[in-house]
């Protein structure tokens, strides 16, 4: 995945490098391996890219860069074969572009096409409005020119989020999720509409409808796993979604337990909702070591396991000799949960482990850019409930149904893509 961030100051007193820097830090949930950033002072673009681990060590060039407008993106290494950003200079025009999602066009070619149109007198927005006609995909995109023109586009039907915020009279902020806007001290204003192109310069903010085809649809996996729980996506609080789904899970759960624990960090809101509905004690089951890693999106299986074990050191006095409901947000390969169940049972002497999953059975890969492994690597696509339960070595395994999710989102009045659970993508 990619976390997009863009910051523009209306008053050229500001240097936004530091804002882009912290925007990147706040977008790591969507990509923790690499970053790319570009900053314009109205004349030229300065470009920065590196391993994201080094950002805090040698990000000083970005921090101190001169310029009142900048963009940035965070990426996962799974995706590096699929280039998500590009920078190109031809003559006096420079353009940098970053994409979250899937496009069928090579990004360097995209930059070249933009530059060609800009050289013949078009603004970046005009050029993009033309070039976008030849792009197919499901994506959100930000783009910056050396002249300091910033554009943001969100493709229909809206599966990849994009938001606009502001900081007083001084800054405009564009970001995939709303959280980076608040981390930068700003206020979330609205989401970009699917099919809408927003262009921002110190002299104007304009919005164009490029495409308007029907009801927007949001990605259920954003709400279930990808987004930060403190984000608000398209007006819906991610935390509230997760807690409500946890609440609904309780009605599917048929066992008695002494205690509820959640797998940190993503599953905690689910565990809170679940324990509340069940009226059982919620406790802290695990403490993590080292930096926060998002284990599910690591590619190498061994890395994943190391990540899990560092993340999940159990607290003995909470778990030992109890009957435990262990809540997780999703079940991908089942490796994480199996490992945790083994530790709980073998090392801590937990009497019963009931695994509770805050989402429906994950069975299909995502053609729209959400990094879900291929079907043959997904537990629920290959083993039935009984075998899955035995595989993860749990005493029971409970999922939500797709209907549970649909019902919740109907309350918000939005369309949802549940393709990774139901194959038929974009239903609602």
């Amino acid at each position: 995945m990619t976390g997009l961030i863009a910051v523009l100051a209306f008053d050229e007193l500001w240097k936004v490098g530091k804002y882009v820097y912290y925007g990147l830090l706040a977008s790591q949930n969507r990509g923790q391996d690499r970053y790319f950033a570009a900053v314009s002072d109205g004349e030229k673009l300065n470009v920065f890219e590196d391993d994201l681990n080094y950002l805090q060590i040698n990000g000083s060039k970005l921090l101190n860069s001169n310029g009142h407008v900048g963009i940035g993106g965070t990426f996962t290494s799974n995706e590096l074969h699929r280039v998500k950003y590009s920078y190109l200079r031809e003559g006096w025009v420079e353009v940098a572009v970053i994409v979250d999602g899937i496009v069928d066009k090579d990004l360097t070619t995209l930059c070249r096409d933009l530059i060609k149109l800009m050289k013949s007198g078009n603004s970046l927005a005009e050029a993009f409005a033309e070039v976008v006609k030849g792009i197919h995909g499901i994506y959100s995109l930000i783009c910056l020119s050396n002249r300091g023109e910033l554009i943001a586009y969100r493709s229909t039907p809206g599966l990849r989020p994009l938001h606009i915020g502001s900081y007083g009279f001084d800054l405009a902020i564009v970001s995939t999720e709303s959280t980076p806007i608040s981390i930068l001290g700003g206020d979330l204003k609205r989401s970009v509409r699917p099919g809408e192109l927003v262009c921002i310069t110190p002299e104007y903010v304009k919005s164009f409808t490029i495409k308007d085809n029907g009801r927007p649809a949001l990605c259920s996996f954003e709400y279930i796993y990808m987004a930060r729980p403190d984000s608000i996506l398209d007006g819906i609080d991610v935390y509230h979604v997760r807690k409500s789904l946890g609440y609904q899970l309780a009605s599917k759960f048929k066992h008695d337990v002494d205690i509820v624990v959640g797998v940190p960090d993503t599953a905690l809101p689910y565990a809170i909702g679940f324990a509340t509905a069940l009226n059982k004690e919620l406790d802290l089951g695990f403490i993590s070591t080292g930096s926060k890693l998002r284990t599910a999106i690591k590619e190498d299986p061994k890395d994943r396991l190391i990540g899990i074990q560092l993340k999940l050191n159990p607290i003995r006095c909470v778990l030992s000799r109890r009957r435990v409901a262990l809540v997780d947000d999703s079940l991908v390969r089942g490796v994480t949960i199996k490992n945790v169940v083994q530790i709980l049972r073998n090392k801590l002497g937990v009497k019963e482990v009931h695994v509770v999953i805050g989402s429906p059975k994950l069975r299909f890969s995502c053609p729209y850019g959400m990094e879900i492994p291929p079907s043959d690597e997904l537990l629920s696509a290959n083993l039935d409930e009984a075998l899955s339960t035995k595989y993860v070595e749990a005493d029971s395994l409970t999922w939500l149904s797709a209907e549970n999710v649909i019902e919740l989102f109907n309350k918000y009045g939005v369309n949802l893509c549940l393709g990774c659970f139901l194959r038929s993508h974009l239903i609602g």
């Binding site: 007193l13 912290y22 502001s166 001084d170 001290g185 919005s207």
Partner: protein
């Protein structure tokens, strides 16, 4: 009857239209710094005339007025008041509607205003520090935290820097901005003004919903007008730099959908107390307009951001469609100190939306925004039930209209609900264009359902906090402490 109106924007255009509706049909003479086509037409239609002059020069203004010997003079903007134009005219024996120089300090000097509010313990006051010494100000700014920097003198809606500073990791960049900005203010803005000792005002920052309460007074009676909400950000969704105001909404009735009757009453009380305090310290009688630019905040509820010694522009434009009392009667009653005899009639079946159309480049790069020929389809705008009030437009010697670099004009629209009215206003705003292809812009979101309900949500959250805190006696003191310099205590009780 002859009436002189001084000023050149859409506020004055509104005033002339209000006057021309009077059953007395006065002859209107306008004194302006440029040839605003709206003012010119309104003056000429009434049998009067537009005179160009330096409206800040008391002697030049008096010279023309002496020729005209009018029955009444209405002062539109604040700067002529600051320059003593009213004092000269009053001394010359004229009936003037507008604050004298000393009374207009309430707008001119934000330091004077804050000081007055603290001295008289007027509710809605904010903690502040004023500086004459640049170095001292700089030192304070270093550690000031979450504050607003303002030029100590009103500088035509330019120069306020609101820097929310609650993230330590971004705070050095903000200190730098504050420092740079304070320097710029002192060197660029404050050096133009020699009429004030203080240079900078640093004020506690608050959050909430802004609104304007305009009142008319004869120094004794205060006649509150319906509340109006201005939109200072340049672009849709409250994005972008501060402007003189990109549009305003009003109604239905005296309050707004997000400000309740009690908050309206409290705001009126704040203006009344301030008026009383002001007249006491200045020892003069206030005749004219006193407006409060207010914010509903969690600390106070109704809180004063600043006062105007005049009508707000564009706020006054909204009144054009709802004021049912003869405006000339009101002004005459005020100057003859019989305002108590006026009963205001306001249409409460309408809401009004005013939208300002500006040239690209406004507000930060007015140089490029100036000198573009424009066309205004007045006929079509009228046939939509809307009105155009001209602002930064000059009638050139070739008969064409040109932008002055400031806001071009205000469209006023009214109807039974905000959504419909806002949509019609948007349509009409499209009818003002630069014919050389230069871009213009306006805010399509003003009056929209989503923005109005957003304000309602915000106001509701603020209201929840301030009413709770009042009820539980949690309104207390604020302590400002600079290490090594001792503490300042602000008592809000």
């Amino acid at each position: 009857m002859k009436v002189v109106v001084l000023g050149d924007g859409s506020r004055e255009h509104t005033i002339t239209i209000l006057l021309s509706r009077s059953c007395i049909s006065p002859k209107i003479y306008v004194l302006s710094s440029y040839r605003n086509p709206g003012l010119k037409k309104a003056a000429e239609d009434s049998g009067g005339q537009l005179f160009r002059c330096n409206i800040l020069s008391p002697s030049e203004v008096k010279g023309i007025v002496d020729e005209l010997s009018p029955d009444l003079i209405i002062i539109g903007p604040e700067e002529p008041q600051f320059h003593g134009v009213v004092d000269t005219l009053v001394d010359g024996g004229y009936a003037v509607f507008g604050a004298t120089r000393k009374l207009a300090e309430i707008e001119k000097s934000k330091v004077f205003m804050r000081d007055l509010m603290w001295r008289f313990k007027i509710p809605g006051r904010l903690a502040f520090k004023a500086f004459t010494d640049v170095n001292e100000a700089m030192e304070y700014i270093e550690n000031a935290g979450d504050v607003v920097i303002k030029p100590a003198r009103q500088a035509g809606g330019k120069g306020v820097k609101v820097i929310a500073d609650l993230q330590a990791y971004l705070s050095d960049i903000k200190s730098e901005i504050r420092r740079e900005y304070a320097k710029k203010l002192i060197s660029d803005v404050m050096t133009h003004y020699t009429d004030i000792d203080y240079k900078l005002l640093i004020e506690e920052r608050v959050d909430g919903v802004e609104y304007t309460l305009m009142t008319i007074t004869d120094g004794h009676t205060v006649l509150p007008l319906p509340l109006v909400q201005d939109h200072p950000h340049a672009f849709d969704n409250d994005l972008g730099p501060e402007t003189g105001g990109m549009g305003s909404i009003q109604g239905p009735g005296y309050i707004l959908p997000f400000i309740n009757q009690q908050e309206y009453q409290e705001s009126i009380e704040i203006i009344k107390s301030t008026l009383k305090a002001l007249q006491t310290v200045v020892n003069d009688r206030y005749v004219g307009v006193l407006s409060g630019q207010m914010m509903l905040t969690p600390i106070w509820g109704p809180t004063v951001i600043e006062f105007y010694s005049r009508f707000g522009d564009p706020e006054v434009v909204n009144l054009l469609h709802v004021l049912d009392t003869d405006f000339l009667d009101i002004v005459e009653a005020a100057v003859s100190r019989k305002l108590a005899s006026i009963k205001l009639k306001v249409r409460d079946d309408l809401v009004t939306v005013a939208k300002v159309v500006s040239p690209k480049g406004y507000p930060n790069n007015r140089r490029v925004a100036k000198g573009h020929p424009i066309s205004v389809d007045e006929g079509l705008i009228r046939s939509n039930g809307c009105e155009v009030l001209y602002a930064g437009v000059e009638l050139g010697s070739d008969g064409n209209l040109y932008t002055t670099g400031s806001r071009i004009a205000t469209i006023l629209c009214s109807g039974s609900n905000y959504k419909v009215v806002s949509d019609v206003a948007n349509k009409c705003a499209e009818l003002i264009k630069c014919i050389d292809g230069w871009d213009t812009f306006y805010r399509s979101d003003i009056g929209s359902e989503s923005l109005v309900s957003e304000r309602m949500r915000l106001a509701e959250a603020v209201r929840d906090v301030y009413t709770y805190r009042r009820k539980n006696n949690l309104v207390s003191i604020k302590v400002d402490w600079i290490p090594g310099r001792g503490a300042t205590i602000y008592d809000y009780r």
